[in-house]
């Protein structure tokens, strides 16, 4: 695969500690386009070996607006189905530039390991220095060890190590859209984390045309309905939760976008520092980045203050456990005090009503769309590597435009019929 690709797939066998590099076959791209289309194909190819597949969309890491998305594709320990979880912030970007468009992690290691994927090299390293650490300490340790703060870390905390059903693969210090218990799979594989960094380059088939089309799309987005809004706290209004913004705004410090995404879907709150502070804080851990709206909503429904809710979100992220599951099961158990809830992380069990029913993580709100419409837009986002929330907010990024960009980028001649077929395959 010559364009919009780093050409390679890493097949990593944790049981044998062997890594095989495979070429990304252009025929596979022609058939499955990219992203979830290909992660599913790879999952099926290795399904006898318990694979977890990391992947990027066809446009991930490019100038295409919101091209931030990577994904984890695996069988959910919670649903038993093949599911996809989003990798946002800079994780999708860094995976793409690490030199591998896709990474298949199969087998189980005998001892704790971590993967260091960089510049087309995938290393399996001993994780004895990080096993037992929480998510934050693990991220700090690996960045310190490798000497670079830009490394993106997909890591589990103690929830994953203890194989909790609700263990989450976190991104750096923060919660992710893994609502499928993929953290448990990491724990079962004795895989503590995957560290990603690379400085590869992507070739574009029609560079001028691609850039021109991206600029045109960005222009069209400037009149989108999201303009003037900011932060994750604006999103609940779209799902009928009008008062979240007012509730959380006193502790909001700033907002943060994922790679190349025109809307900041993440909000940083200050918990141990004045939210109005405009200079650099001297505190090492002044607050928390809210990346999951439903986790926040879950704790709000328990009647907690915004600060207490965010403190609990921080504790969930450090432990590597899905805050939505914690909030729902706490409510069922009648637990409403933060300390009490925190103590319940270890050994948390129960059945979730909020569990996703489809293949894509319910981390992304439906914005009032029907289930079918939501599913189709999510599928498109996961094929092309577009931020799933922004894909819902920006109808300007429609199928026709994305196919056009893919064609300019790869020169492969994708059609809407081909896309329909891939969507149908993914939805089976």
């Amino acid at each position: 695969m010559e364009y919009l690709s780093t050409h390679k797939i890493a097949i990593i066998d944790l049981a044998t500690s062997k890594v095989i590099d495979q070429e990304l076959d252009e025929d596979l791209v022609k058939e499955k386009i990219g992203g979830a289309g290909i992660t599913m194909a790879l999952y099926e190819q290795y399904q006898g070996e318990d694979p977890v597949v990391l992947g990027t969309g066809l446009l991930t890491g490019t100038l295409a607006p919101a091209s931030a998305l990577g994904m984890i594709t695996a069988k959910s320990p919670l649903t038993g189905n093949l599911c996809h979880a989003p990798l946002t912030l800079y994780a999708g970007l860094e995976l793409k530039y690490s030199g591998f468009d896709y990474v298949v992690i199969k087998g189980k290691s005998q001892k704790p390991v971590y993967l260091w994927i960089h510049d087309g090299v995938a290393d399996i390293n001993d994780a004895k220095e990080v096993w037992g650490k929480d998510v934050w300490a693990s991220t700090d340790a690996i960045r310190e060890l490798m000497g670079d703060q830009l490394i993106q870390v997909l890591t589990i905390g103690k929830a994953g190590e203890s194989e909790s059903d609700f263990a989450q693969v976190c991104i750096n210090y923060w919660a992710s859209g893994d609502r499928w218990g993929f953290g448990k799979l990491f724990g079962q594989k004795k895989l503590k984390l995957v560290a990603l960094r690379g400085m590869s380059l992507l070739e574009v088939s029609d560079g001028e045309g691609f850039v021109s089309q991206c600029k045109e799309l960005i222009s069209s987005l400037k009149s989108g309905s999201f303009v003037g809004k900011k932060g994750i706290e604006e999103i609940p209004a779209a799902v009928g939760e009008e008062d979240v913004q007012k509730w959380v705004s006193p502790i909001v410090h700033r907002r943060l976008s994922c790679f190349n995404t025109p809307f900041p879907t993440n909000t940083f709150v200050f918990l141990d520092e004045d939210p109005k502070l405009l200079k650099e804080t001297e505190k090492k851990e002044p607050g928390f980045l809210i990346t999951d709206i439903f986790g926040l909503l879950g704790f709000k429904k328990l009647g907690l203050s915004a600060a207490d809710a965010c403190i609990l979100l921080r504790e969930c992220a450090r432990y590597g456990i899905d805050a939505v599951a914690v909030a729902e099961l706490s409510q069922k158990a009648g637990k409403k005090k933060p300390d009490e809830i925190k103590k319940s992380f270890s050994g948390l069990k129960g059945t979730l009503e909020s569990l996703g029913k489809g293949k894509f993580s319910p981390w992304c709100p439906n914005f009032g769309l029907s289930a079918n419409e939501w599913e189709r837009r999510q599928t498109i986002a996961y094929i092309f590597g577009i931020h799933p929330i922004f894909a819902m907010m920006a109808p300007e990024l429609n199928e026709e435009k994305l196919i056009g960009l893919a064609n300019l980028g790869t020169g492969l001649g994708f059609t809407s019929e081909m896309l329909d077929k891939v969507i149908a395959d993914i939805s089976k």
Partner: protein, 414 residues
């Protein structure tokens, strides 16, 4: 050191040496880049020890790029100077840019006074300044020179005028990058090739523009001198910088023109290590080891590029972004090396590259740690740049040898 003749190359490959020893900074990598682009593969890397061991006897051309002129002169010493003089007088071509241009100029300073091949004075020396002008320089653009100092007035692009019938890429005017090279005063000892004519939008002034113009305009940027059967070409600006193709072409033309009919057989390397060629799976694994360590090094180095710090090593300031220049140049060529068919490389030299890469990572971590603790990072930085030069010269020895091997394996076209 033994050099065994192999087979003749076509007249595009004179044996060329690039000096990488004491005092050489990173700009010799630019020579590597343009020689590779031009297709010269009979390229060797020499340090002061090689020169003292008569390595110049096996070369037609010696390229001396930027760095610390005093350290180069001290490293070569009187004996090295003698070897260099013999090399030129017996027909060798010396091309010096920046520090490599200062080296052969007449000087009374210790070590430099052992050269004195060219009787030319420079305009960028403090004795030619008024007292107020002497105080208008930042210390990092000056080098001590006895009671005086040598200074630089601009960086980046300058406009040159080619004179005496010389042209570069068919042009009489050209833009070239100046990073501290000399501005020379007229002298009967040289033939002038180009003079400083003006500034451009990309010229970065280190002093007031009027003072910069006074120092540079009309003075000599490029000159040549015959010495015995050989010649010296000296360049104030870096004509070897790969972003200036007209300059590169001019250099290539000099090498081709001056070396016409004087090509020698392909040389083996100046390696002191035993040769142990490997290929196939064993080689691939070792190349992967090198790739792993180089990637780790470039990732850890990338985080330092924005640090506003420099280290004074010898008489030259080194900035953190130069670390990435070394590592990325090797990294880019590693990909080209991996893609060569029938590749066979020397195991020991490749292993040495892997070991040095690991050392480089340790050096960078030590620098970061010193900076965090507000300690002195100059000693580890000094070690780091030595290791970066060693890695690059070992690697490019392998690289050009692989290119020569490929050339010998493939049949020549008509």
């Amino acid at each position: 050191m033994s050099i065994k003749p192999n087979r003749d190359l076509p007249p595009s490959s004179p044996p060329i040496g690039i000096y990488t020893g004491s005092g050489a900074s990173h700009s010799w990598l630019w020579f590597v880049e343009i020689l590779d682009r031009i297709g010269f593969c009979n390229v060797h890397f020499v340090d002061e020890r090689d020169i003292l061991s008569n390595a110049l006897d096996n070369l037609n051309v010696l390229l001396m790029s930027g760095g610390d002129t005093f350290a180069i002169a001290e490293g070569l010493g009187a004996e090295g100077s003698g070897k260099l003089r013999n090399f030129i007088e017996r027909g060798g071509l010396y091309i010096g840019t920046c520090a490599g241009a200062y080296l052969p100029l007449k000087s009374s300073m210790d070590f430099l006074n052992q050269f004195n091949f060219i009787n030319v004075k420079i305009s960028n020396i403090s004795r030619r300044l008024s007292e107020p002008e002497r105080h208008s320089f930042q210390k990092n653009v000056c080098s001590s020179y006895g009671c005086d100092f040598v200074f630089h007035v601009v960086r980046e692009d300058v406009l040159l005028e080619m004179v005496n019938g010389f042209q570069a890429d068919g042009k009489k005017e050209m833009i070239a990058p100046l990073y501290g090279g000399p501005s020379m005063l007229p002298s009967e000892d040289i033939e002038v090739i180009a003079t400083y004519k003006g500034f451009t939008k990309k010229t970065k002034f280190l002093v007031e523009e009027d003072l910069a113009a006074k120092i540079l305009m009309g003075n000599i940027a490029v000159a040549k001198k015959s010495m015995g059967k050989g010649k010296l070409f000296i360049f104030g600006p870096h004509f070897e910088h790969p972003h200036y193709p007209s300059c590169n072409l001019f250099l290539a033309e000099i090498i081709c023109k001056e070396q016409e009919g004087r090509f020698r057989p392909v040389q083996n390397d100046f390696s002191r290590d035993p040769q142990n060629p490997i290929k196939g799976g064993v080689l691939r694994e070792l190349l992967k080891d090198l790739k792993r360590e180089l990637s780790n090094a470039r990732i850890i180095a990338s985080g330092m590029n924005d640090f506003s710090i420099s280290w004074l090593i010898g008489n030259k300031y080194y900035e953190p972004e130069k670390i990435s220049v070394f590592i990325n140049t090797v990294w880019d060529k590693l990909k080209a090396l991996e893609s060569m068919s029938g590749l066979e490389l020397d195991k020991y030299l490749l292993l040495r590259c892997v070991e040095i890469s690991k050392e480089i990572i340790k050096n960078i971590k030590t620098i970061k740690s010193e900076m965090k603790e507000q300690g002195d990072a100059t000693p580890p930085a000094s070690k780091l740049f030595l290791n970066l030069k060693a890695l690059s010269s070992h690697f490019f020895t392998l690289y050009f040898k692989a290119k020569r091997n490929r050339f010998q394996m493939e049949p020549l076209g008509d």
